[in-house]
Amino acid sequence: MSTRVHDIAHARAGDKGNTSSVAVIAYDDAGYDRLRRHLTEARVMAAFAHLAKGPVARYEVPKLRALNFVIQQALAGGVTRSLRLDPHGKTMSSLMLTIELPED
């Protein structure tokens, strides 16, 4: 059975200018280990490729069991000029949680 990020983590999205940042936080240590190995910058970029030009940077915060993703050129020009229904990209977190992770 495949695992989605939603099965092992929660997430929150924020915006600054044309950049989206999405924190992904594992519920436990095993989940964090799995995120760290499989939720790579490349996998995230692939999931967001139709929405964002990138690049994607990933920061690890092991004490909080969290990965922080910073996705550049992700908000169609930024909150104030985007034509999108969700100009802030608040729903980016729920897209992140749909990503499927490979089996170990």
């Binding site: 200018g17 929405l51 229904l85 969700d86």
Partner: protein, 459 residues
């Protein structure tokens, strides 16, 4: 719980707002129940000042936060009664006007002779006009390219202006652009006598501000995922407060028995919110490092925060530049049943063609199928986005002129008769003037903030 005077004690800072149109009642609840020393209202999004700058041009006495009157009337009587001092960036594009208005509204609410301090000097548009070579952070182009369309330019000031404004003895401090966490750090610096040499204290005050600046986002707002992450009594979400010790200790709390949720999970989400590199979150006051952070749940409404670190502040300040960027128009219409999505797609095509035939001008047109591709986009793989039973079409366009922005919405509005059969609820959502923002960095020394005490009514 809290001592109101002096060093060695802890100061209790409550939140009265985390955005311009945030709810007022939870701020009143905090004032009534939680023995606050200070109430901080954060009310400025990135683009708010640009919009208020335009308002001030139309009406010189305006340009401050539209909800200032309501907040002052609701909060100041309790603040005066309980000795709570108010700090807010509700001054927006007109802190002095905000201070005068606050005195007037306070008086009408029974709080005579409110002593206000206004912080001015964040406005730097004249300065920027003489530096067209500055680089725009988002556009990655010289500032010169948008100078003719520049509507506002405001530097993010730091905690020192809040500290200095409180030192005047003001009951209410009203600022323009001050970095959100700095509003809170400034209170702690004033109360505890901290200086810019105390890096662990700057870390504590900035961390506190970062956790609190979005009000309910640390107490269960922006969090619920039914069955996975439930929030009790979500309708009654309470605002948070923090106890900040003179030694830099931090505890986040909310009123005993109040609605919402405050725990390790809510704090972790907010700690990482909108920071990029967690080891280098740059504010005007310090460079915050949250990688050593930990949260300890002391009770249902109380979390201890440990481990923030800070490096010294940088030599630059960030300036948000607002500029006119044309008009956005949009309209929506819905389809259901057999071939609903095909009809929506046909409607989208004819709206665009008709818009062109009638001379509409657009730099960019966005077609959304709400219920299918409007939020997470279209990956181009049909298996990712199965067709729904019902769909709402949204057409939005960025246009150089108001007329075109209105035209695109009109064509969607007219789809009940002029498009495919069975079009539900067509609407033109109307043209909206776009104030876009970008940012530049400038040397800190260029900015000269001032504190103005406003304790008399204007003649």
């Amino acid at each position: 719980m809290t001592t109101r005077t002096g060093n060695g004690a802890r100061v209790r800072i409550g939140v009265g707002a985390g955005m311009a149109d945030d709810r007022v009642a939870p701020g009143v609840q905090l004032l009534q129940t939680s023995e606050l020393d200070y109430l901080v209202c954060e009310c400025l999004a990135e683009r708010t000042i640009a919009r208020e700058t335009l308002n001030r041009r139309r009406s010189p006495e305006l340009g401050y936060s539209p909800m200032l009157a309501e907040r002052i009337r609701a909060f100041m009587p309790l603040c005066r009664e309980k000795g709570v001092r108010l700090v807010s960036n509700m001054g927006a594009a007109n802190p002095l006007g905000a201070a005068r208005a606050a005195r007037r509204h306070a008086a009408e609410a029974g709080v005579a002779d409110l002593r206000c301090a206004a912080v001015i000097g964040d406005e730097v548009s004249d300065l920027l006009r003489s530096h067209p070579e500055l680089q725009l952070m988002d556009a990655r182009a010289p500032l010169e390219s948008l100078l003719p369309r520049m509507a506002s330019a405001n530097a993010y000031l730091g905690a020192d202006v809040v500290r200095d404004a409180l030192a005047t003895g003001a009951e209410a401090v009203l600022t323009g652009r001050v970095a959100d966490p700095s509003l809170f750090l400034g209170v702690a610096m004033h109360h505890h006598g901290w200086s810019y040499d105390d890096l662990p204290m700057l870390a504590a005050g900035t961390m506190t501000g970062h956790l609190l600046e979005c009000s309910v986002q640390v107490t269960g707002g922006y969090f619920a995922d039914p069955g996975r992450k439930d929030v009790p009594r979500l309708a009654e979400l309470a605002y948070p407060f923090a106890d900040v010790g003179a030694d830099g200790s931090i505890e986040i709390g909310k009123p005993a028995g109040s609605g919402g949720r405050l725990d390790r999970l809510t704090c972790t989400e907010q700690a990482l919110y909108e920071i990029h590199d967690p080891a280098r979150y740059i504010t005007p006051d310090c460079v915050l490092d949250v990688t050593g952070l930990s949260f300890e749940e002391l009770g249902p409404d109380r979390v201890r925060v440990r481990g923030p670190r800070a490096a010294p502040r940088t030599d630059t300040l960030k300036v948000v530049v607002g500029y006119a960027d044309g008009w956005i128009g949009s309209g929506e219409v819905a389809y259901a049943g057999i071939h609903a999505v095909e009809r929506a797609r046909l409607a989208a095509e004819l709206v665009q063609e008709r818009f062109r035939l009638e001379g509409g001008k657009a730099d960019e047109i966005q077609i959304d199928l709400i219920g299918m591709t409007a939020l997470h986009g279209d990956t181009g793989r049909p298996q990712d986005r199965p067709e729904p039973y019902e769909v709402r079409l949204r057409v939005a366009a960025r246009c150089p002129d108001r007329k075109s922005a209105d035209l695109i919405g009109d064509h969607v509005r007219q789809l009940n008769m002029q498009g495919p059969y069975a079009a539900g609820g067509p609407v033109n959502l109307g043209p909206r003037e776009v104030i876009a923002v970008d940012a530049v960095l400038i040397p800190r020394a260029w900015v000269k903030p001032e504190i103005v005490v406003v304790d008399k009514d204007a003649a």
